[in-house]
Amino acid sequence: MQLLGIRLPDNHFVKHALTQFYGIGNKTALRLCARVQIHERCRIRHLNQSQVTALTAFLSSPANSPPAAFQPLAPPNYVPPPLSQPVPAPAPREGEPVPADTLREIKIESDLRRQMRENIAHQRNIGSYVGRRHAMHLPVRGQRTQSNAKTARKLNRVERYN
């Protein structure tokens, strides 16, 4: 299945396949599945249309996604209303705080790459040590350079690709 330009193999678990997105690791993927009510053993081919739509809507822009559905859970002595009556909209009980929705603050894909580039560019602009090291393609965090700085020499740039 293709989701926002990224191929998610049909046979993979959803909680693993979502890590194909840049900026989503195992933890975020699990939280995303819980938000959309996808169980842990669900594979990509088992997803129904509403779940795919919800995932797409969230991943296209996490900050502007609809807030997580508030789903109060019944205590053991709860008596549900009969089937004939309309169901009241779920509302938080008095004194019960609504937990924070931290998933909307994440950045993925191009937003995350842009944020990383901006951070490095900012360090360069203010003339900091970190900025100078990026500009010289050398290690930034105090590693040795007498030997073994190969990765830094290859990847550290001011205009870093990823």
């Binding site: 049909d10 819980a34 842990e40 109060p72 089937l83 779920p90």
Partner: protein, 451 residues
């Protein structure tokens, strides 16, 4: 490679007797208990590694270990296979009339036509492994079987409030087999039977879940739909004479009072989104009716008291009583809801270490605690409520020598073992296992067959 993996991949050398007898009707149960019957199409992977190009491997199926490819009977043309000594496994048939005090220690086969529960509801994993090896699904009737079936006979006339039994005992003592015998007995005695062989699959996040705003719990539509179909299949004859005592107005259809119960079940079996509501409604109807006694049998019963692996949208853990079906089962188990006629039967399972019986359940049953049990250890009041009034039915840890001898006979007759039919061998294996049934079969008898 383990025995279970070999069996799962369908690759095991069948004993000669098994190929003679009609193939065991127990098919390999798929991993997903509520999975749809047709497997989805597999997309071919375009990636081909160069490593294995030069090796000439013959084509293998999925999950094929390469060992234990069964040969069909027509290929066995050599004279050594044309033996008059190949015999069918002959066992008395498991029938209610045959279960008497004298029948204890006899091995009995479950009847082929009437073993609906085995085919429809599925089996616990350990029993499934055994039945894939044996020629016929069978079990040994023990003294404890006779006792328990006597108790169930007494429960047929009374409400389930006094008949909430939990089978307890060490791992391998025979709780699941005892429950299977009880289910089979009740089906043959015209009870309405609902059997859940692996309650762990209800709470381990292996099936889809959906929030229901009316009950403020999570329903499991696919599982509920499958369970309704299986219940309707097993109890088809009895459901014809039952009618619904309340009316159930669902979103776009109503099941009125007086409609056949089968109609209500069909609504849930047809439409997955109604299935959890219909399942709960069906359980309420079964609780009200007095025409037939009802048996609710749940193996892996302790899983209903553990926190499930499901998460709510804020990633908080969902407790098992926040799921519709486990909640209904807990309410029947604790006596909050009662069946007018019938019993609730649960069996603990000590195999899975992720779903161990919690302290509240252990204390309610009067068992020895597995961990600390001082007053500073927290006990959830909800679980204490749900565990009230459960009756402990201990299954003896040791088989008697006669019972073990019957099991030994069954395995020898099915020609599944390569050991001589001798008393010394039997007593050696019995002693090594200390009389424990599970260890006797798995580590005593089956490990003589080199894998």
């Amino acid at each position: 490679m383990s025995l279970v993996t070999a069996l799962r991949s369908g690759r095991i050398a069948h004993a000669p007797a098994a190929t003679l007898a009609p193939a065991s009707a127990i098919t390999l149960q798929s991993r997903g208990y509520a999975a749809p019957a047709k497997p989805a199409q597999k997309t071919a992977s375009k990636f081909k590694s160069n490593k294995n190009k030069d090796k000439d491997k013959d084509k293998r199926g999925p999950r094929d270990s390469g060992a234990f490819r069964p040969m069909s009977v027509t290929n066995l043309t050599h004279p050594v296979f044309q033996s008059e000594q190949r015999t069918q496994l002959k066992l008395p048939v498991f029938r209610p009339e045959a279960i008497t005090a004298t029948a204890a220690t006899k091995a009995m086969a479950f009847p082929h036509e009437e073993s609906r529960a085995l085919k429809a509801y599925g089996l616990p994993r350990n029993i499934l492994v055994d039945y894939l090896l044996l020629a016929k699904p069978c079990s040994v009737v023990r003294q404890v079987t006779v006792d328990m079936l006597d108790q169930l006979d007494g429960a047929a006339a009374s409400s389930s409030k006094d008949n909430r039994i939990v089978l307890t005992g060490k791992a391998g003592s025979g709780k699941s087999y005892l429950m299977l015998q009880a289910v089979q007995y009740c089906i043959q005695k015209q009870w309405l039977t609902l059997y859940i062989p692996r309650a762990i699959s209800l709470v381990n996040s292996s099936t889809a879940y959906a929030y229901d705003a009316r009950t403020q719990t999570y329903g499991q539509p696919a599982f509920a739909q499958q369970l309704l179909k299986r219940f309707a299949d097993v109890n088809a004859a009895l459901l014809q004479s039952l009618t619904v005592q309340n009316s159930y107005p669902l979103e776009d259809r109503t099941v009125p009072t007086g409609a056949p119960l089968a109609d209500l079940i069909n609504v849930g079996a047809e439409f997955q989104n109604y299935a959890p509501t219909v399942l709960n409604a069906m359980l309420d109807e079964l609780a009200l009716q007095t025409k037939y006694p009802v048996l609710l049998a749940v193996d892996d019963f302790q899983a209903l008291y553990c926190t499930s692996q499901y998460r709510d949208p804020f990633f908080r853990s969902v407790k098992s009583y926040h799921l519709m079906l486990p909640r209904a089962l807990l309410e029947f188990a604790s006596g909050k809801k009662t069946l007018a006629r019938g019993a609730f039967l649960g069996a603990l399972s000590m195999q899975d270490t992720k779903y161990r019986p919690p302290l509240e359940l252990i204390e309610a049953l009067g068992l020895e605690p597995l961990g600390p049990s001082n007053p500073y250890v927290p006990r959830l009041p909800e679980l204490v409520e749900y565990a009230k009034g459960l009756k402990n039915f201990p299954v003896p840890e040791q088989l008697t020598v006669d019972e073990a001898a019957s099991i030994y006979d069954v395995w020898q007759q099915s020609k599944a073992l390569h050991i001589p039919l001798a008393d010394e061998m039997f007593l050696a294996k019995y002693t090594e296992a200390n009389g424990n049934a599970g260890r006797f079969v798995k580590h005593g008898l089956l490990e003589t067959v080199a894998m």
